[in-house]
């Protein structure tokens, strides 16, 4: 089994961190993993994305061209990556910032109002964790505990430990919304 995930959005939306949390968790669960970033030409505020692979076997190409999952945080990313999802794959749309609907009907599409949820939780920067929670719930690619217990401090550092509870909540909310939409 190989999950080939692309996570995309504006710079500042935490797409890189989302990818790293996944990658680290995959490694911790003894899978082969890779993470590869890609930045646009803008200094800040432009679009950015990363490719994450979590696999039973050694990772070949670290570039995700055909994804099993795309997580898109803004409209340009939806436009760019919708078509890259393999038939049968999954697409997670941040419906807070993206009004448009997916056009594909051969994939599972999830609409997650990540910014709204995050704002409700009182920290708009947790929108990416909402998406992450949703994705893990739907895919089961790694365990939520691995993210929270191991990956979180490894990626963000000890000094962010105080943010753990709110991030946990964000992930749970995301998971909940995904569950509702799961077929």
């Amino acid at each position: 089994m190989e999950e080939r995930i692309v996570v995309a959005g504006f710079g500042g939306q935490g797409v890189m961190a989302l990818g790293q949390l996944l990658t680290f968790s995959g490694m911790t669960e003894d899978k082969a993993v890779s993470w590869l970033p890609s930045y646009g030409p803008e200094m800040r505020g432009g679009t950015a994305n990363c490719s994450v692979i979590i696999s039973e076997d050694a990772v070949g190409s670290p570039v995700v061209t055909e994804s099993t999952t795309a997580i898109v945080m803004n409209l340009p990313s939806l436009d760019k990556f919708e078509s890259s999802v393999k038939p049968g794959g999954r697409l997670f749309i941040n419906s807070s910032l993206i009004e448009k609907k997916a056009t594909r009907d051969d994939i599972e599409v999830y609409y997650i109002p990540a910014n709204e949820v995050a704002n409700d939780l009182g920290n708009s920067r947790t929108a990416n964790m909402v998406m992450l929670g949703a994705f893990i719930e739907a895919s089961k690619v790694v365990k939520p505990e691995t993210i929270l217990d191991k990956a979180f401090t490894a990626v963000f550092g000890e000094h962010r430990a105080h943010l753990m509870p709110i991030n946990k909540e964000a992930m749970e909310k995301g998971a909940e919304i995904a569950r509702e939409q799961m077929k």
Partner: protein, 248 residues
């Protein structure tokens, strides 16, 4: 009812890629306005550096060259020697001009090349993500001076205007800042004066503009303006270091 301020024709319609609040945008505007006011836009050939302003060739509304990192003065020399009647300018950052391009700027000044240079000093390498520049202040933290710059390890920051003013061919040298509307207006006057030095065939002119980098300084844009005033101006005093009257 009169429009007293509108977008200058000296710039193209393209929106810049600069970070929010980055003063590169202000300086671009001043250069564009200066060219329009002096009536030299159609005659101008500009040289963009490598740095955050690498895409300046998309923004200045005249013929443009993109130069290799630090080599804009050499490129401008090549252009000006072929087209002595065109107005030729370079736009360069502090990594570009004060580090890798030190020899090129010193020798453009030394030969008295009749070109004009806008030198944007933001005390950091913006484009590559905030590394230390030769102009980085003591104590300033950057990605390659994570504990803050120290004199012992890297010396005191270099003051290029003072250095260039020792060169005879540098006929106009002034340091300005763009942190307040007043300073911005003064900056524009200096740019116009520098351009005139070229137009009158007197020699090389340079305006050092103290500028901000909110992104890599890790501040909001308004905070950056204050940091510039509180930290940069005391070490990099504003003022004119050289103008033709004195030089002759």
């Amino acid at each position: 009812m009169a429009v007293i301020f509108e977008r200058t024709k000296g710039l193209t319609e393209v929106e810049t890629h600069y970070c929010p609040g980055c003063t590169h945008g202000i300086i671009h505007r001043l250069v564009g306005e200066a060219m329009v006011e002096l009536g030299i836009l159609d005659n101008a050939i500009g040289v963009a550096p490598v740095g955050c302003s690498v895409f300046a060739y998309e923004y200045f509304n005249c013929d443009m060259h993109e130069a290799a990192h630090g080599r804009a003065p050499a490129v401008a020399t090549g252009i000006k020697r072929v087209h002595p009647d065109n107005f030729v300018f370079t736009y360069q950052g502090d990594g570009d001009l004060a580090s890798i391009g030190t020899a090129e700027i010193v020798h453009a000044a030394h030969r008295g090349e009749k070109i004009s240079t806008i030198f944007v000093n933001n005390a950091i390498y913006g484009m590559t993500g905030g590394q230390m520049a030769p102009t980085t202040l003591i104590g300033q933290k950057t990605t390659t001076s994570p504990q803050g710059r120290t004199v012992e390890h890297s010396g005191m920051p270099i003051r290029m205007s003072e250095l260039l003013a020792t060169i005879d061919g540098a006929k106009f040298v002034e340091r300005v800042a763009v942190n307040t509307p007043g300073n911005i207006r003064k900056a524009k006057r200096a740019i116009i004066e520098a351009f005139k030095v070229q137009l009158e065939g007197k020699g090389f002119g340079i305006v050092e503009v103290l500028s901000t980098c909110p992104t890599n300084w890790g501040m909001t844009a308004p905070e950056s303006m204050k940091w510039l005033a509180d930290n940069m101006i005391p070490y990099y005093p504003l003022g004119n270091f050289r103008r033709p009257e004195e030089a002759e």
